[in-house]
Each structure stands twice: as C-alpha cells, then as structure tokens.
Amino acid sequence: MIPLENFLILSGILFATGLYGVLARRSAILILMSVELMLAAVSINFIAFAAYLDGEAFSGLVFALFVITVAAAEVGLALGIVLRLFRERRTSYVDAADSLKW
C-alpha cells in the first residue's frame, strides 16, 4: 500500500512547478498551461484524501470532477481572450496588455 504522503509530495511538487511557470512565463498560453498543472495538483490531493481518509470516499471525487469542469471552462474563455489580445496587439505576451497600468 502506497502511503498517503507520496501522493501529497507529488502534488506539492506539481503545484510548485506550476506556480513557477505562472510567475516566470510571459506567453499567455504558457501561463494557462501552468495553471492547468496547478489544478491537476489540487485534484490529486482531493482524490488521494477521498481514497485514504474518507470512509465513504465520495465528496473528494465530486470536487475533482468540478475542478476538471471549471478548468475546461476557464481554458475556453482564456483562449478567447488570448485570441482577442493577439488580434489587437499582434502578440500573446501578457506584458503587452498593460493598458490598465499607470
């Protein structure tokens, strides 16, 4: 039996890697991909806790399902915004979208 800590360590590494990507990347699509990594890490945590600590093992699954759904919606919406940004500015780097900065 694999100890629960192994899954938590895996998810921690995955989340930290995704956070590094979000902070270090400039391309909007790569930031989006790093956010996907962080969401996957959270889902691993939910399902590991559901399988190991919850006797009924149901709520964690539902949360993971909702995380996947919300991630899909987020990607669709964010890619629409990225396409719009690319049409307006001819680039997909996030530091081109600084009109609200003063």
């Binding site: 039996m1 694999i2 800590e5 192994n6 938590l8 360590i9 895996l10 998810s11 921690g12 590494i13 995955l14 989340f15 930290a16 890697t17 995704g18 956070l19 590094y20 902070l23 270090a24 990347r25 400039r26 391309s27 699509i29 790569l30 991909m33 790093s34 996907e36 990594l37 996957a40 889902s43 691993i44 399902i47 590991a48 559901a50 399988a51 190991y52 600590l53 919850d54 006797g55 093992a57 149901f58 699954l61 539902v62 399902l65 996947i68 759904t69 919300v70 991630a71 899909a72 919606a73 987020e74 990607v75 669709g76 919406l77 890619l79 629409g80 396409l83 690319f86 001819r90 997909s92």
Partner: protein, 218 residues
Amino acid sequence: MIDRLPLPAQFDRLIIAGGTAVALVMTPILVVLLALMIGDEISAAELVFWLAFTVIVAGALGTVLLSNIVHAALALIATLLGVAAIYLLLATEFIALVQILVYGGGVVILIIFGLMMTNAQADPIVSDGSQKPFAAIVGLLLGSIFIAAAIDAEWGAQTTAVIPFRDFGARLFRDFIVPVIIVGVLLDIALSGALINARSSSDDDEAEPASEESEAAS
C-alpha cells in the same frame, strides 16, 4: 513506408530526437524499478506510482522550462496522462477517464489550436520574463513547505476505500444537484464569453445587434 509519408524532415528529426531522449531517461528508471519489484522491495502498485511520478515531474518541468511552445504543450499532455494514471491507481476509474477525455481530448487540443492561431506557427520560441530567479525561489520555498507539511503531519487512520462506482451518477445528481446546476450555468456563461471575445472586430461592425437578438429569439 516511412519515406512515402509526407512528413517534413524537421518533424522526423523531432520525433527521433525526442523519442531517443525519452528512452534514454526512462529505460534506467524502468530497469531499476523492475529490479526492485522482482526483489520484492516494492509492490506492483508502487512501481506504477513511481513511473507515473517520473512522467508527471518530468512533464511538468518540461512544460514550464522548454522554450519551444509546442514542445511545452506536448510535455503538458504527458503530465496530464500521468495524472490520469495516478487516478487509476487510487481506484477512481471514472475520474481517470474524464481526465483523459476532457484534458487529452479537449483542453490540450484547444490549447494547441490557440497556439496555431497566435504566433506559434511562425515563431514558436518564447522568451521568459526577467522575474525568473524570484519565481524559482518562490516555487522552491512553497514546494518544500508542502513536502515538509505532508511528511510532518499525522493523517489519522488510513483506509483504502474502494470508491463505489455503481451509484456515482445517482449520488452526484441527488446530493450535489445545486453545484451541478451552478457548474452548468458557469459553462454556459464561459461559452458565451469565449464566443463574444473571440469574434473578430470586423464581425462587430457588420452584425446588427437587434437582428442577432431576433434570430436568437426565433
């Protein structure tokens, strides 16, 4: 057979180089893990776990470090499939299948379309921001805090519960019906928002808002 396929030479080189690199990295790991399993050091489930661990961590590092944006997308696919393997290992087949369908079939394809419709095809090499060292410090700090907390904490009595799957849908729509409806509304809003955002501005000039509404109503 191979040379009749209309592949550009660059694509061939990419496949060969990538496959060689993956094989060179994965073969020693696989051999070590198999030796440990035959020597009864680890169980078959642990073998699968460590294989998935390697794929996930390598894929995640590839996603955040590779400078070619298409290669980063391919590394993301590897990571998400490894996460699906972890779900299978935790006996949640339904979530694993949803993960493969939604991520492998939907999200990644959408991302690759997004890449191709922006500047990835002409110029796939991206540069990173100047805040890289700080990002690395923050990532390392947070990761070590997570790992230390996971090792240090007491998790109580652990039961490997087998997830009841026969009544998954029934329980989802009975106990969680309000969140399901909210997520449905959220998907609807996201779809409309994506459509409005991605429409080109020339469409905005041509289309009359009133006529669009009357079409939608009819």
